[in-house]
Every structure is written in structure tokens, then in C-alpha cells.
Amino acid sequence: MEKYRFGFWIVFLLVFSLSSKAEVTAEYLVNRLDEVRGYRDQGFVFDIINISYKKDKEPRTNTLSVKVFNDKSLIRFESPARERGRAMLKEDSNMWLYIPGTRRIIRIAPSQRLIGETSNGDVVGTNFSRDYGAKIVGEESVEGREYWLLELTSTASGVAYAKVKVWMAKADGHQPLKSEFYSRSDRLLKTAFYKEYKKYFGELKVHKLLLVDALMQDNYTWMKFDNYQLEELDPAIFQKASLGRLN
């Protein structure tokens, strides 16, 4: 009898673990990855503070305010003082930069987003569920906690990174722990560590993120996301004419 009971529990645990694994699909995880970085189909606004560190150089701080609706985002540069008033409109691979001094709006190429602070924005601004195919390629234990290893491969043209690996918690919430961003030649470019989460309107969002340059690990950026607010944003706001305006 004892032997049967033991066997029953073994079978139960096996079935339970298999069924729980079956519930967590790659699609579910990639949706979850998008959810912790925004509100998917709803308009929302938030602020970003970037502090970038380079070896033997003073850290540089810049602040951005961002409006997002689906694949459109309007990014306003708040600091440093020299860049205050600059703004960028992004819609898929189309990007326009507004220079306040001359009132000019210039179309910029997607590759330009890989340079400077805007490249950091790209790491967090990517729509993974739309632009990438996902599969669970393994499981890993980090500091006693279990994670799914999710591999994302780009399916859309013009995306910044060809492949992304994401470690997502097996526990409830499935929060990402870190992401690795790879070039088309499969070279690791950046690693993002999701360091802290915070609740906004009852939903957990990434609050602090550490982004480390894979080639020069002395180059890294701390990013703080805050003041998430849901807002009704009409598509008319995401036009070039809005770039120089406060509201």
C-alpha cells in the first residue's frame, strides 16, 4: 500500500509538472515580457532617467519623457540642458528627429538608434511579440531560483537585434531576470538586467534596469522607468507636427 501511495505521488507530480510546463508557452512568456515594459494595446506615458558610465569619464545623465501607443512612440528629451526640447517620433522603422533650434524635423535611419542613449531606448522599446518568433530553449537555475530560457529570433525587417535570449522566472509573474541582445553575426552586444519592479495601477512594471555593453563592460547604463500612466492618446498626437509641443 505504501509503495502504491508513493507511486501515485510520483505520477501526480510528474503530470503536474508537465501540465504546468505545458501552460507556460513561449508565446505566453513573450507577451509577459512585453507587459512588464508597457501596456500593449493601450496608450501610456512614462519617464526614463538614464545614467551612463564609461571608463575614466564622468557619468552622463539624460532624462526622457515618452508617450507610447501601439507601435508609435513620441520621445522628448528633458535633459541635459543642451538637448532639452529635442524630440523623436518613432513608428516601426520610421524615425524622425526634431531639432528645436532650427525647427527642423529630419528623418533618421533605423541604424542610428543603435548609437548613444537612443540605443538604450531600443532595448526597452522593442515589441517582442510582434517582431520576434519565440521558443523555450531550456531552464536554468540562478541563485536558487528557476528560470525559463527563452530565445527570440527576429521575424521583422529593421529590428535592432537579430536574436535575444531572455531568462524569465518560473514563479508567478514570470518576470524577466535578464536579456542578452545579439547582432546578426551572433555577437553578444548588450546584456540587460531587470533589477527592480514597481506596481503601477496594480500591474508590475520594470522600474530599474541595468544595461551592460558586452564588449566593454566598463560601459554601462542604469535606467529608471517611472510615472507610468495610462492615457488616451489619439493617433493624431503621433505626428511630426507634435514634436515641438508640450502637450
Binding site: 569619464k57 541635459p80 520610421n94 542610428q112 548609437i115 541595468l210 508640450l246
Partner: protein, 461 residues
């Protein structure tokens, strides 16, 4: 000889360290947001507009100061003999702008320039001047969806999508030389107007009703001087192929048309086309100065351009300009012939500014002065090339930008070299050298300065 077990031990330690996951490395990066004080400081940087969504304001002040030394030519072809040119100049300017908004229904924007100039000409005479300009100042009201809005006041709409030439900016009078003098705030002065704005999805339409006024008194006595008002209807479609159509009419005049297109050619290449077809010729035809008969079928000005983005934030920009407003070779020969004739008349009459002279001599003198004024219009000839390369797109301490504008018709050239140093978040400097080369009667050879050196200081408060 090395102990093999020690070597193995070191190798094992090395492999252990090398195989540590990046997570361990992450522990070394101290969180700058962890202290309350840093959070408070950084929150302060976001300004009022981010803390209060319903009513917001923004106020920016920038100071620009420069000193410039000009290498004046010994002889300027259009100079009747009485003109002296600036050898040194210094400027201190404040660029003040403010926005206030109570949401979409009401907002205001104002931009004011205060400019103090000190100039010394080649004869040693000095002059100074203080001026203030209302560059822009308008009231805005939009519906809550932002689909309909009205703007009233002084505005500078920007319809061009280019770097060096802007044919689609059809409102008159226009002085738009983004790469010639970036410190000249007066280039940003707008027109007094009413603007109706309709937006839907990727489309928008604007109607503009504006005054025609040369408020800066640049002495551009152009054919449109008789019109008091001008109108424009602008259609935009934004997306993979940006399209802009501008219909412009001076009061009582015919309709001018401009078309602008821009698109991505590749992940790192952008393309643009911009063309304008106008009834009025841009070149000054003041007083008795008329070199050639005007054609009656209109004038085309078109730009084809591309920008290639390289690694590390470097960009290469190239543009080609075709300009029917400019003089073709035979017209330019007539210009030079008439200049020569005017100079001969002056020489024969022994003209001097101090004494009264014959009517012919005065006519000749004025003709040369008006001809000299042509240089302020720019683009005197038909075809030009522009190349620019630099790394100014990305915020960094040292930036570099170099450009060349090449007049294909007469092979004269304008070179521009800039070194920009961003010392702090607020303070920058710029060292600029410009060289104008070409034959005596070629466009850039006619610029009074053969070269100039400028050292500029910028402080953003």
C-alpha cells in the same frame, strides 16, 4: 620550470572566473538610484511639465557668444570702391523661449532673441548695435483629440526635410541658410499668421494665412514686395514614404507648388526629394538692375539628397540642387558684362562718394551696390553639390563636422569645418573655419571674405 599542478590550479581558477554568469558581474554596478537624495535630484530634472499633466510650462534660456575674424579679399569684383567689409565681429545673444499649456485647449509659445553686435571694418571703424527680435509668439487651441487646431501669431513653419537647401519653404520673404551661419538667430524669425491644422491618422492638412513683411530689413527687394498677404495649403502624409504637397499663393499672384518626399532606402540610408515650382524668380531685380528677360513658364528648384549613417554615430550627407532661379552661363556672362560696363562708367567719370556726379555715374554705382546685394540671396547659379560628414548626431564630448558646397557651373567652393566641444551638460564651444574659393567673378569668389574663423561659446541654462 613551472609546477604542472600549479598551472592546472591557475587554469582552473581562471576558467571558474571566466565561466561566471554575467549576473555576478552585475552585482558590481552600484545602483545610482538607490539613495533618496539622488532620486529627488533626478526627479527635479524632469521639470514641471512632467509632474503636472494638466497645466504645464517650460522655459529655456540659451546664451551664444562668438568672436569672428574675417580674411577680407583685396578686391571684390562687384565693389564700386566705396564698400568696406567687416574684418572682426563679436556677438552676444540670448535665445529665450517659453511654453505654457493647460492641455490641448490652450497653449502659448514665445521665442525672443536679444542680440548685441560689435563690428570692426577693414578701415578700422567700429560700430555696435543692440537688437531684439520676436522670433515666434503664438496662441494655440486644439480639440482634445488633437485632430483640429488653430494657431494664431508669429510662427515659422518648417516644410523642408533637408539639410542645406529648403525649396519647399515657400513663404516669403525667406532667409534660410542652416549651414552658413548657425549662430544667426534671426534666421528663425517667423511670419505673422493664422494656421488651421487638421489631422487624421497619418494625414494632416494645414491652411496658412500670413503677412508678407521683410521685418528684418535684409534689403531683399524682391518681386513679391507688392503683396501684403500670402496663403498656403499644405498636405502631409507621414509613413514609409513621407509626402508633402505645398500650394502657395501670394496675394493676387499665381499658385506656386512644392513637393517633398522622403523614405528609408536601407537600415542606414535615407533618401529625400524636394522640388518647388514658382512663378516669381528669386533673384533680386531691384531698381534698374535687370540682367535678363524673365521666362514666363515658372522656375523649378529641386533637391535630391541622401544620408548614410555609419558606425559610431558618423553620418555622410549628400545633396544635389537644380535651381532654375539661378543664372545660366549666358545670363551670368551678361551680368559680368554689365558689371564691367558699370565699373568702366565709374572710372571714366572719376566717381567718388564725397562729390556730386553725373546721373550715369550714380546709376552705375547703384547698379554695382544692387549687384552686390545679390550675394545675400544665395544660389546665383543653376547646379550645386553639397557634402557633409560628421559625428554630431550623438551626444559626446568632442564632435566634428565638415562640409563642402560646390557650384558646378563655375567650380567655386564653400568649405566649412567645425570642432564642437561639449565641456559640461550646459557649456559647449565651437571652433569654426569657413573658406570661400573661386575665381573673381565666380559665386563664392565674390564673397567679400576669403576665409573666416569663429570661436563660439554656448551656455544652456
Amino acid at each position: 620550470m613551472a609546477n604542472p599542478s600549479l598551472v592546472r590550479q591557475k587554469l582552473a581558477i581562471f576558467l571558474c572566473i571566466a565561466s561566471l554568469p554575467p549576473l555576478v558581474i552585475a552585482q558590481e554596478y552600484e545602483d545610482p538610484f538607490s539613495t533618496e537624495s539622488s532620486e529627488a535630484n533626478l526627479a527635479g530634472e524632469l521639470g514641471s511639465d512632467m509632474l503636472e499633466n494638466s497645466a504645464s510650462w517650460n522655459f529655456d534660456v540659451s546664451a551664444i557668444a562668438y568672436h569672428q575674424q574675417n580674411g577680407v579679399r583685396d578686391d571684390q569684383y562687384f565693389n564700386p570702391g566705396g564698400l568696406v567689409f567687416r574684418e572682426r565681429e563679436s556677438q552676444l545673444a540670448l535665445d529665450l523661449s517659453g511654453q505654457f499649456s493647460t492641455g490641448s485647449y490652450f497653449s502659448t509659445y514665445t521665442r525672443l532673441a536679444l542680440v548685441g553686435d560689435y563690428r570692426v571694418d577693414e578701415s578700422g571703424d567700429a560700430s555696435d548695435e543692440f537688437s531684439h527680435y520676436l522670433l515666434e509668439g503664438y496662441l494655440s487651441s486644439y480639440s482634445s483629440s488633437r485632430r483640429f487646431g488653430v494657431n494664431v501669431g508669429r510662427m515659422k513653419p518648417q516644410w523642408s526635410n533637408g539639410y542645406n537647401w529648403s525649396p519647399a519653404n515657400l513663404l516669403k520673404p525667406v532667409y534660410d541658410r542652416p549651414n552658413l551661419d548657425t549662430d544667426d538667430l534671426t534666421q528663425q524669425q517667423g511670419w505673422d499668421m493664422v494656421h488651421l491644422d487638421f489631422r487624421y491618422g497619418d494625414w494632416n492638412t494645414g491652411f496658412y494665412f500670413a503677412e508678407v513683411e521683410d521685418t528684418l530689413d535684409r534689403n531683399l527687394e524682391l518681386p513679391f514686395g507688392d503683396s501684403d498677404y500670402q496663403y498656403a495649403l499644405v498636405f502631409n502624409r507621414e509613413g514609409d514614404l513621407d509626402t508633402r504637397l505645398v500650394l502657395h499663393q501670394l496675394e493676387g499672384g499665381d499658385i506656386n507648388v512644392a513637393l517633398g518626399l522622403s523614405a528609408l532606402a536601407d537600415d542606414n540610408i535615407t533618401l529625400r526629394f524636394e522640388g518647388a515650382w514658382e512663378h516669381q524668380r528669386e533673384l533680386a531685380l531691384a531698381g534698374d538692375m535687370q540682367y535678363a528677360d524673365l521666362q514666363d513658364r515658372g522656375y523649378l528648384k529641386a533637391v535630391l539628397g541622401t544620408q548614410v549613417s555609419l558606425n559610431d554615430g558618423w553620418d555622410i550627407t549628400a545633396e544635389y540642387l537644380y535651381n532654375e532661379h539661378g543664372y545660366k552661363a549666358e545670363e551670368w556672362d551678361q551680368v559680368i558684362e554689365q558689371i564691367d560696363l558699370a565699373k568702366l562708367n565709374l572710372t571714366q567719370s572719376g566717381f567718388s562718394l564725397a562729390s556730386s556726379q553725373s546721373t550715369e555715374a550714380h546709376t552705375a554705382f547703384n547698379f554695382l551696390i544692387d549687384s552686390f546685394g545679390l550675394l545675400s540671396v544665395g544660389q546665383l547659379r543653376r547646379e550645386y553639390l553639397f557634402f557633409m560628414w560628421g559625428n554630431t548626431r550623438v551626444e559626446r564630448k568632442f564632435q566634428y563636422r565638415q562640409s563642402i558646397q560646390y557650384n558646378i557651373d563655375d567650380q567655386s567652393q564653400y568649405h566649412n569645418l567645425e570642432f564642437i566641444q561639449n565641456w559640461t551638460e550646459h557649456f559647449s564651444t565651437r571652433l569654426q573655419a569657413q573658406v570661400f574659393s573661386g575665381c573673381d567673378s565666380c559665386e563664392f569668389g565674390l564673397i567679400p571674405s576669403e576665409y573666416l574663423l569663429r570661436f563660439s561659446f554656448y551656455f544652456d541654462f
